[in-house]
Amino acid sequence: MGDGTPGARPGGSPVVPAIRTEALVRRFGERVVLDRLDVAVDPGQTLVVFGPNGAGKSTLLRVLATLLRPHRGHVEILGEALPDRAWAVRGRIGLLTHDPLLYGDLSARDNLRFHARLHSVEQERIDVLLDAVGLLRRADDPVHTFSRGMLQRVAVCRAVLHDPEVLLLDEPWANLDPAAIALVEPLVGRSSGRTRIVTSHDPAGGLLEGDVALGLKAGRAALLRPSAEVTAAEIGELYAA
């Protein structure tokens, strides 16, 4: 990886990116939200996406999650082209957004049971995950009684329930205190070993988390370099009016 194009091992065969977009365009009506975006992420690597509100970060994640169709360009996830082969990758992607995708009137366990059945996942995994995020004791409480941080922890369980190869994470650490971050890090953090795209508004923390940094401004890639070569000040400039 490194420069946002498919990488190659020194003297070896080319690495097939886990995620690749070429000239990706997505519009909402007349408004272009993603404008000719070229991105490539190698297996096991993390792309961290910065950009002000409305820059297209969440839209990029929703296109990659197969929830939105690309209007132009080429998108490939785990070697499958979207949207034609979307059905083949849906079970291999985990999405964590601002919306936890949980029914408020159901308990954490019932919500995860529902998702486990949709993904043909063994029910035993639910308790393992709830225990991992420290919520086993509250597993049978309706999630509308949970704090934002607790909801986010259940949402993390939902996102990794089916052990996805690719994680699409929209500000995953939002609403989490340091102790909760430590709990969910092995599941969705760098140490999870999964291919990840993470959006962030935290220049310092985000750069530490990513292998490659993408800066979006009005849907365009204003910056795409290895994180180690990017400074927090450059990220800050993305947010300047």
Binding site: W87, V89, G91, D99, D105, L106, S120
Partner: protein
């Protein structure tokens, strides 16, 4: 090394998962069935005063029962997808490796179950407040058969239109505006079928013609809805 095979969940498993979730939500926090049941009872009271009759029978009784069911069902169709839209249920299904029509089948079946639950309250309330002739066991069987066929049509069309309406801001207007004309044949079939059963002085014969029309309409719209539902979920 060959790439990993796509993970997919069998459609039957997905339908059961979605159906269980629907019934669990309604059991934990009853919303649709009580709202529809209360609406139907109030409507009978309104008919009681509006028609200025102590009791009705025959065609008027059939009309009152059919129209009340239809309007109560509109209330349900309007709310059928609200939790999924507000709480991300749509995205959950779209992210899962399942056939999207599983959502349609599960929603239509759950709506059918809710309509049957509604009628368990509605028909006795109708008999108590408005219906002139007393209900015999034979009448109940005939009414149940007609109502079941009407319910299937209402559930299929209500689910289809409910899914369409939830994508718009004018849901409350759009759902009845589209569903009511589509359901006119169901109401005609139901009312015509019920009228001879609800006559004063004993139940007439159950008209096979109206049963067949209702069944045919259910089948046509069932197939149509199954074919187009996927497109309603596409962005």
């Amino acid at each position: 090394m060959s790439p990993p095979a796509p993970r997919t969940t069998p459609t039957g498993t997905a339908i059961l998962a979605l159906l269980r979730k629907e019934l669990l939500l309604e059991r934990k926090v009853p919303q649709l069935v009580p709202a529809m049941a209360l609406f139907s009872v109030i409507t009978f009271v309104v008919f009681h005063f509006g028609l200025q009759r102590r009791s009705v029978d025959g065609e008027i009784a059939a009309g009152v029962l059919s129209v009340t069911l239809l309007f109560a069902a509109m209330l349900g169709a309007n709310r059928l997808f609200v939790a999924d839209k507000d709480e991300g249920g749509f995205d959950a299904v779209l992210l899962a490796p399942v056939d999207r029509t599983a959502l349609f089948v599960a929603k239509a079946v759950s709506f059918l179950v809710f309509l049957v639950a509604l009628e368990i309250v509605m028909v006795p309330a109708f008999a108590l407040f408005l219906l002139g002739p007393g209900l015999t066991l034979e009448m109940v069987g005939q009414i149940a058969l007609l109502l079941l066929l009407a319910d299937i049509g209402i559930a299929v069309i209500g689910t289809l239109v409910g899914a369409l309406g939830i994508q718009t801001r004018a849901r409350d207007l759009l759902v009845p505006l589209i569903a009511l004309p589509l359901l006119v044949p169901v109401i005609i079939g139901l009312a015509r079928g019920l009228a001879p059963i609800l006559v004063d002085g004993g139940a007439g014969d159950l008209a096979g013609r109206w049963l067949a029309i209702l069944a045919l309409y259910d089948l046509v719209f069932g197939l149509l809805a199954y074919a187009v539902f996927d497109f309603l979920l596409d962005d």
